[in-house]
Symmetry: C3
Subunit: 360 residues, 3 copies
């Protein structure tokens, strides 16, 4: 049994991740074997906010499986402009398409959409700052293809670590593997949130926080770079002081291990200088290509394996509502709020849509 919908990376078991990886590798080795495996099936790419790279990756994946595509690439091309609610869009599109990939600016949108997909598969292609599971699949695939393993690694993450959805998801994912060491490289005001650090501590993972990329780089098997948006800095001086520090160039790369991987979710702006591109350690363009293959594997299984819904967590009976203004429940008024409790901390409630946490 495979999952019917992929909303959160954690919806996947490690066993399912292994299946996906093996399938992705088989597709790379024998593309023709899969060329018609989704023939006659349609994918709808519903992008309520633009993200060309992600959209193209999904579309290429579906087309290379013999499937077809419908969709829009920004809200104003959707019926939303006519004031249609998400539920209706999903209900109608699920009558046309066999699988939906949804990208939405609001947190919990993909979860809400999945509730309306009885027999249609759905993949979360990013819901606001919340989740982006296929990016995490892409990152893990790159690591496993290039390193041959996902255990026994020292991984450095550099840039904006407080807002980075991609980084948070990768930290959680890596915390399922054995003997992982973390280096978190960021300005003081952009450090990894405390709850993630506690999670690592609780699970017994070793991590180091530093403001210096130079200092960390020699220790790393993997350097995961992300962008720091100018507006994140507390002041212009702060920005000018910091910006150079978090840019990877040939000079800094010189002190890295000869087999270290340089990864980046892309698009980059100037956090990696172009003279690094030709270094064989720079795998960020390969990474994008691996993303297509792992999405092929995902789509292949969702459309060709028997699937079942991911069970809802045990809901706490409460009349509360979620006060996160970016939560889908505050924008789609027919949605009824749902809360559950964190297994490890039963005193903490969280919104099942956007996962914002509340003390009891």
């Amino acid at each position: 049994m495979f999952i019917r919908h992929l909303v959160d990376f954690n919806d996947l078991s490690l066993a399912e991740w292994d299946i996906l990886f093996d399938t992705a590798r088989d597709i790379m080795d024998n593309p023709s074997k899969y060329m018609k495996s989704c023939e006659g099936r349609i994918m709808a790419t519903l992008f309520f906010e633009p993200s060309t790279r992600t959209m193209f990756s999904f579309q290429s994946a579906m087309l290379r499986l013999g499937g077809q595509i419908i969709g829009f690439s920004e809200p104003k091309n959707s019926s939303v402009s006519k004031g249609e609610v998400l539920k209706d869009t999903i209900k109608v599109i699920s009558g046309y398409a066999d699988i939906i990939t949804i990208r939405h600016p609001l947190e919990g949108a993909a979860f809400a959409a999945a509730q309306e997909c009885k027999d249609t598969a759905l993949i979360n292609a990013g819901d606001g700052g919340h989740l982006h599971p296929t990016q995490t699949l892409t990152d893990l695939t790159t690591i496993r293809m290039e390193k041959g393993r996902t255990d026994d690694l020292t991984i450095g993450m550099c840039g904006d670590l407080i807002n980075g959805r991609t980084v948070h998801s990768l930290i959680k994912a890596m915390s399922h593997f054995k003997n992982i060491k973390f280096y978190f490289i960021s300005p003081a005001n952009l450090k990894v949130p405390q709850r993630l650090l506690s999670m690592l501590a609780r699970k017994g993972y070793e991590y180091t926080e530093t403001e210096s990329l130079e200092e960390a780089i020699p220790h790393l098997d993997i350097l995961y770079m992300t962008r720091i948006q100018r507006e994140r800095f507390t002041s212009e001086e702060e920005y000018n002081r910091s910006k150079g520090i978090y840019v990877l160039n040939r000079e800094k790369l010189a002190s890295a291990k000869p087999d270290m991987l340089v990864m980046h979710p892309l698009p980059r702006v100037d956090e990696i200088s172009h003279d690094v591109d030709d270094d064989e350690r720079a795998v960020y363009f390969k990474q994008a290509r691996y993303g297509m293959y792992i999405r092929m594997a995902l789509i292949y299984h969702m459309l060709n394996s028997p699937t079942e819904n991911v069970p809802l967590p045990k809901l706490t009976d409460t009349d509360a509502y979620c006060d996160n203004p970016r939560c889908i429940t505050n924008h789609e008024h027919y949605l009824k709020p749902m809360f559950a409790r964190v297994k490890s901390h039963p005193d903490i409630r969280y919104c099942v849509y956007c996962e914002k946490q509340y003390k009891n």
Copy 2:
């Protein structure tokens, strides 16, 4: 012989409607039989105004027949932005595509476009407030699939009945079937146009006009809901007084027959409350899906059956021009106006493009 172009629902004979319906049902039962029936053919979806729902329905239909798609979803993506006339766009696209679906804000645009399609099939996907034949096909298909018949029915239409292109077309279509009773439910200022009422009277159909949905609902086999745009109301008070009246909710539904169908062309805004969605009488989402199947049947026959042009009506020799500002002839200056006479009222002339009528 099948029609080469579908501009107006009335271009179809009842025999052709039967063929389409039977084909649609066969496609639902044996999709694989049709999976490659349009292989190697291309549909161009030329949407000079956005309408995602309609576009996706046509695209899904073509793709499920094994065909392919090119097109644009709004004028600014077309060459129109370079000041190109409709004729040139159609001439060029008909050199690339085997079938064109056109959506245009001006009345008569699809008719004008069809005149430039010698061997290419063309389907009107909506020309301004004028015609939208595949919506009517969708509505009839839903009725026949869900009721098993299109005769002996009492149908209520609720909302804005004066401006509703969809409603007018459905009234005309139902007036081809036996023993149909109509309930027209609307505010006084949004009633069905007199010429349609006279047509029904002349053909001997029974109809009732009312302002109360509650009053009408117990009599109905079908309730066809449409939206009332706020700006249609004569005043803010009028709006606030009326708006609740024309909203369908569980409470009003309670007094309806157990097998009444609730239909809606979609998108809805608040004219049907969400608590109605789970009632099995609510078929508006199914309706969208039937729309895809009947469009598959239509495309299938236009591309696989021998086809011929719908003959022009006998033109009256006149140098008049059409004074309807929304008529395509007032925007595409190379078009020569054409007029014909209403069969039942030879004293009435009408524009062959937008069908505006003139006394003698």
Copy 3:
């Protein structure tokens, strides 16, 4: 060996042009033979500026070969809006697609993009005012299909001849064939650039410059019309005086040879009046269709023949940069300027990207 990338029409040898033409004709005669010749391959249409006609022509071509499409039709739908450089877009997309067609507002963009495509084919679909090789292929195909030859022809070019990329490219292309006579018909301020006239003189081609379409038309085997943009005229009076002169209508056509071809790259505005469309000499709509077939031939060979890169010209060692503000090198800062020397005039250097020329 076929070229891996088509950036400039001159990248093609005349032998390759013959192969393309023969293939295009074979495709027209036996479309089913090619229907699956690109099955499983993906074309990315990267349109950094809109050009629906060109995009549809490429998309139809790829789809009719059994291939598939991804892409965007304007920059704001691309990742450019996130500040991504062209190099990164190309690197990533070349991981998804087998062939890229690029349309870009800057000169040299296609050349720059091709440098990043190791194994992916790339076609220039127009780089600013610079090159548009498949338009030239379209024009030559039309001439050869309709005239049965590309030698022994008198060709007139009318309109804006100083800015017309299409016209310049066609002049260069025709100058490879035997016994071609040219008539250049334009206002005084919009005449063919001197360097093209010198090139023709040097190669011994006869040409006539005139301001009168009437005067030239009786001599022509081919009349190639182009638009004159209102803003090109030096003054409003100048515009009003000239505009009629360069409009082709039935009256002027009366004095043309019975087998003269009227060609136009489209879209037209009013430089050809609609009463000309039905004249069998008007081949501009056919021309658009030939464009699809020659693009099919091009894509077919780039994806099915063994290919190799077009060699770079011998670079002059210089630290100069190109001062053309529309040159891609002034917008993508990681690009290093490259210069070479004009074979016929070794004292002239030119930018390898935008081809702007410099003395010594």
